[in-house]
Amino acid sequence: MASHTSWVFRSVGRINVAGIRLQGSMSRMTYSTEVSADSSNGNKDFQERGGRGPIIRRPRRESGEPRTEKMAVDQDWTAVYPAAASFNPNSVPLPVRMGYPVKRGVPPEKRGNLELIKIPNFLHLTPAAIKKHCEALKPFCTEWPSALDSDAKCDEHFPIKMESTDYVSAGPSVRNPSARIIHLRVKLSSLNLDEHARKKMLKLVGDRYNKKTDILTIRTDSCPLRRQNQDYAMYLLTVLYHESWKTEAWEAEKTVADMEEYSWEDSPSQKKILDVLVRMKVAGEGEGEEVREQLLGRKEVQEYKDSVTRLKNEGGSESAMLQYKEAVKKVLNL
């Protein structure tokens, strides 16, 4: 009798809970809620589980209505999601659907939806929350000095720029060895250098100088820490500066091949044009130094000199070639 009532109770419980899938579950004991007091049943369980005892199943509690029903429309959302948390369908009062729909269907709803739980959500960073956070962070920020409102002024007062990179990522280690690299950029025009010092600095530095923007870039990565690399870069700049002001004894042996710019004086071009003009007897009869100097003072010769210098220094361009052509025509009276 007791067994019959207990069985009936169990099946009634099943009808309430299992719903449509009742037919399938009759044979399975999945929703049995009662620990049966029957001795026969107890013995069977005992033998099945090899002496461990009957399976204790806690009574299944019904879940109440979701919290979303009780939420007011004008509630404080920052209190519902104050920190990053995964999506909870009973806490978010939005009818969100996510996932790939089956044929002739819609994306699955939010209840039991793994896609919504997997993707990072920004429910804790709504505009209201951001405003609150920034209000609290404002006192820790400082203002940019108002006098430095343009890049040009920054360059004028603070010519040295140190560039460094930080890396944030998830992985077995928080550190990234590329974070120690420093790029130091300076405009050479902002340093106190004279002509000789500037040329020597360019020779010392080589590839690190960009002629178009007049910026010297020193990249340091030889030390393991960023602070060390910063100090090393400043040290390199200091050494370069002071060494370029020094004049060594062997610098007097600088040849024409070492010159950075082309200079027309005492060049083969000057000799040639003077020879040609003397042979053409432009200045009248006479040989010797005075004739050459007189020729040098002439306007056409000066123009020729300018055009040749420009071609050699700047390379071949349309306007430079045209200028050279005009100068040659004038000098040779063509």
């Binding site: 920052t78 209190a79 104050p82 990053a84 993707i119 990072p120 920004f122 804790h124 960073l125 505009p127 929350a129 951001i130 405003k131 956070h133 920034c134 209000e135 609290a136 962070l137 404002k138 006192p139 820790f140 920020c141 400082t142 203002e143 940019w144 000095p145 108002s146 006098a147 430095l148 890049d151 920054c154 007062h157 603070f158 010519p159 040295i160 720029k161 140190m162 560039e163 460094s164 990179t165 930080d166 890396y167 944030v168 990522s169 998830a170 340093l191 106190n192 010092a197 602070r227 100090d231 400043m234 700049l237 200091t238 500066y241 002071h242 002001w245 020094k246 060594e248 004894a249 062997w250």
Partner: protein
């Protein structure tokens, strides 16, 4: 209530970090590095904002006190944030968050743009043994988003970056490139050979 608790906790952690940073900063000064002569640099500055905050706050139930130190703030001409992730929608939301936070804190945003995505493709054999003609291809897409800010002080950069990085979503990486600007240090203003003329030594 929960929101205020969260804010307090964040302030507390920020405070702890700022405490550490300020201690390490002062220690560096104490070590006597020649490059950071703060007191001399000051008079040259024609700028109006002379107070600089390097903050540390002791937080109890009382409101936090902000300490102002004498060390001048570093100035950053450019700060460039590059965020990388596999999901474009996540980067969109993060960009909205970062730009809004920057506006609220009064930071100039130069530009926000999206570099083209990178796709890494990989082709492997489908089967463990033989069947060379049947392969399987995988690809990894990395989307980028770049936010460039300009004209920030050191304190603001620390506050903003800590806030942004603590709220970085999972699966997203970030690279921050900062360009700090400095004055020409004293030892480069003029060559030292004027004061100590160099003796004739054979150059190495």
């Amino acid at each position: 209530m929960a929101a205020s608790m969260y804010l307090r906790r964040e302030l507390c952690s920020l405070a702890r970090i700022f405490n550490e940073i300020s201690h390490s900063g002062l220690r560096v000064l104490g070590a006597g590095s020649a490059h950071r002569k703060c007191s001399i640099i000051r008079p040259h500055l024609p700028v109006t904002a002379s107070t600089s905050f390097h903050t540390a706050s002791v937080f109890l139930s009382a409101p936090s006190s902000i300490t102002v130190t004498e060390e001048p703030d570093t100035l950053f001409q450019r700060v460039s944030l590059l965020v990388k992730g596999h999901d474009k929608a996540v980067l969109d939301s993060y960009e909205f968050f970062a730009t809004m936070a920057a506006e609220e804190l009064g930071i100039n945003i130069n530009k926000v743009y999206e570099p083209t995505k990178d796709i890494d493709r990989l082709t492997v054999l489908k089967s463990v043994h033989i069947f060379k003609k049947h392969r399987v291809q995988y690809e990894m897409r990395t989307h980028y988003r770049c936010i460039e800010l300009s004209h920030l002080t050191g304190s603001t950069v620390q506050v903003y970056l800590e806030y942004i990085q603590r709220n970085l979503p999972e699966g997203v990486a970030m690279e921050v490139t900062k360009t700090a600007i400095e004055k020409v240090p004293d030892h480069i203003l003029k060559p030292m050979w004027e004061d100590n003329p160099v003796e004739d030594k054979p150059s190495q």
